[in-house]
Amino acid sequence: MLAKTLSYGLFGIDGFPVLVEADVANGLPACDIVGLGDTAIKEAKERLKAGIKNSGLDFPTNKITINLAPADRKKEGTLFDLAMAMALLSATGQVKIQEQYIFIGELSLGGQIRAINGVLPLLISARKAGYKKVIIPEKNSKEAGFISGLEIYAVKTLKQVVDFLSGNILLEPIKNSSFEEALKDDDSYQNDFANVKGQASAKRALEIAAAGGHNVLMIGPPGSGKTMLAKCFPSILPDLTFEEALEITKIHSIVGQLDINKGIVTKRPFRTPHHTASQISITGGGSHARPGEISMAHNGVLFLDEMPEYSRQTLETLRQPLEDGKITVSRANMTVTYPANFMLIASMNPCPCGHYGSKNGECRCTPAQIHRYLSKLSGPLMDRIDLHVEVDSVSFSDLNDKVSEESSASIKERVNKARKIQLERFNSSSHFSNAQMNHAQTKKYCTLSKECEDLLETAFNSLNLSARAYDRILKVARTIADLEGELCILPQHIAEAIQYRSLDRKYWV
């Protein structure tokens, strides 16, 4: 007897339909699974045997062949278990499948259905392809609830599926979860700017960065609070839109880093890979071309602490994704494009010992050492960082100060307002912030009055700014104007933007 069921496989962050065929023929008892499956799929036959038997059903003692079509495409993971079991049961006549269902789930030896990774991208692909009914593991139901337009049934055991399809029991399709509620459940951040004393200029720079999506480099002596500031940064980032959240959740779901109980990512990711991280772990790759840290930071923040300590090669690989907002990972058997639209927050010391220009310690580095340290950050990479801020060391009296600092919530309010202006300005699905403007757009949206042009020109001449600073200053000035709610860029916006180009200034060794 031959039977077919439908399942979905994962490729990158998209799903593709997989037809599972089971044939039960006369011959010596055997069970073969063909169709370019990985080891997890080959091992599925043991799970099938035990799972079916322990559900009180019969595992046929015939020659069984299971094929996963298209048979020339590599498949991986345990999510086909349920579809294979259903095809087998259907081929032996133990269940009758009358409607087209997509089966997704891993089988345990006891016949339970286990959670799998990547449910969200699979469901999105299935909905796009026009399928209507899906059966998924119960543990994944929270995540699946954010997909509307599909009839999704969550199941706990294999027996339950058989009973449901045979009409012995009734199952309700899972209810849609509300994104707003998920957001509300979880609006707390561990770190708040209210707890950071002083650092007024750095806070202001981070506010501008959050509002315009600009990349930031913080420079300061050890112990000045760079890491602390960066950790508070997510708390002032603009709220996620549902589309953004889905994109993030897709990636996190594939990698298996999604909180199953929450089902969706509600906060912008904040990724902090250590500087010993390999290039592959940052960009993505490996034999299965998995997403890397920069894709995990999609729509969020990638924080590189002590940036010059990262290998030069690793840093240079960031250049292209910083520009394009995505990364294409090519391996021998697959080429996958992952989104990687992240904000880069980096921190560094001004010199190897960390005390150059600091009041609290004498710098013992030679100019050559400082030069070498700074030149680890290549020009093209620096080109992509809009804001440079110098972070002072904080004095004890500042730390002890009783003055209360502004809370993240009130900064976030301003950020949200500025971001809204930008969303209206660009009015596009792929373009959210000033930092993403290309040269033509910069020209269009950052028109300068005569007064501003004069100021910029004198600044370039008298402050030794390098040419690469020009577009950066315009973009940052645009964001500052947005924060003020101004339609035009005014001279004071330009003047403030110039303050954030310290590494371009030649006083730096």
């Binding site: 002596p221 220009g357 972070v391 008298s462 004071q492 110039i498 006083y507």
Partner: protein
């Protein structure tokens, strides 16, 4: 072209062991230096080692002098010897004046009024600022700034002189083909175009640690006086001071903070009364009876907020946060005012997000 006396000296520069002292000894064996080109006196053997002498004999028989001079010309290098007419006379005050000076650039600067600026290779923000302001003032008033093209104070002195459109001479511790530190290669190129590079060594000689103190004597000899802007206890600038005092040049010193290790050398000099304390470039101009050109004060009216910032900074340098607390200005306003003040040259930004009045 070179006369025979000059050629004799140029020939001697082919040998690394020929210091100016050795040259003097060798040439004193002859009545006229030019005779060296026709005959190698066997007595030279007693002055240099046997091995070196055989090398001289070898070069002598090969007659490579003409191709050597041609190669120099091709590189745009001129050689001025102690027998040349345009040899700067002031150098003869030295105990061992250089016999040959390889030059690249505007040779006439050697006849101009020169002034040396030297100091530590790792200046503090203070050292940087005072070097800049003194070099600017002196260069603007027609003095040629002489220094050693090292990192730090030397580099700042050269750069400032060039930026203000003044003249500058860099004295190298090696040949022109081996600029040290390599970081300054671009600067050396600019100086060879707009100023003058000089070296006692032929272009292919690599700099050695020993050469640098030796070249300091040329800085001292060329200059009417030298200024030490910032120097630690063991700074090489103190060598230059020794040479300057030896040949009767003035030594000016800028005082530093007594708690700063980088000012220990300069402060010690002042304590030992070997030098004159200066606090502005006008002090130096006065010593040479030069009337300073009047600067047009920036007449621009300051805004209210800018004036508050200027007042806050009048007690010394402050960090951004300190200015903010002192002035109570909003950060966005403070940021933009600081930029406009920097553009008009009234304040300076220092590393570590600190600001100070630029004293103009």
């Amino acid at each position: 072209m070179y006369n025979l006396n000059e050629k004799a000296v140029i020939w001697l520069t082919l040998f690394d062991f020929m210091t100016s002292k050795k040259m003097e000894e060798v040439l004193s064996l002859y009545d006229e230096p030019s005779e060296l080109l026709s005959k190698l006196d066997p007595e030279i053997k007693s002055l240099v080692s046997a091995e070196n002498f055989s090398k001289m004999e070898e070069y002598f028989s090969n007659n490579i002098l003409n191709s050597y001079i041609e190669a120099l010309e091709k590189d745009g290098v001129k050689c001025i010897t102690i027998f040349s007419e345009n040899y700067p006379r002031r150098l003869k005050d030295l105990e061992f004046p250089p016999y040959a000076l390889f030059c690249k650039g505007n040779i006439s600067l050697l006849q101009s009024r020169c002034f040396g600026i030297v100091g530590t290779r790792v200046p503090t923000a203070y050292g940087r600022t005072v070097t800049q302001s003194f070099a600017k003032g002196l260069a603007e008033n027609g003095l040629t700034i002489v220094s050693g093209l090292a990192m730090g104070v030397d580099k700042i002195a050269h750069e400032t002189a060039l930026e203000t459109g003044g003249k500058t001479i860099a004295v190298l511790g090696g040949g022109f083909n081996h600029i040290y530190p390599t970081m300054n290669e671009n600067l050396a190129k600019t100086i060879s175009e707009k100023g003058l590079l000089i070296s006692e060594y032929r272009p292919s000689v690599r700099p050695t640690a020993y050469n640098f103190p030796v070249r300091n004597r040329i800085i001292a000899g060329l200059s009417d006086g030298i200024l030490i802007t910032e120097a630690g206890e063991k700074s090489g600038a103190l060598h230059t001071k020794e040479y300057s005092l030896e040949c009767g040049r003035d030594v000016f010193v800028i005082p530093g903070n007594i708690t700063s290790a980088k000012s220990a050398g300069t402060n010690r000099l002042l304590k030992s009364m070997q030098s004159a304390l200066v606090t502005s470039y006008e002090d130096i101009l006065e010593a040479y009876s030069i009337t300073p050109t009047k600067h047009k004060k920036p007449s621009k009216q300051l805004g209210f907020n800018e004036q508050i910032i200027m007042n806050a900074l009048s007690d010394g340098e402050l960090s951004f946060d300190e200015i903010q607390i002192k002035t109570g200005l909003e950060i966005k306003i403070l940021n933009s005012c600081l930029t406009t003040l920097q553009i008009s040259g009234l304040i300076k930004k220092l590393p570590g997000n600190e600001y100070m009045l630029s004293g103009q």
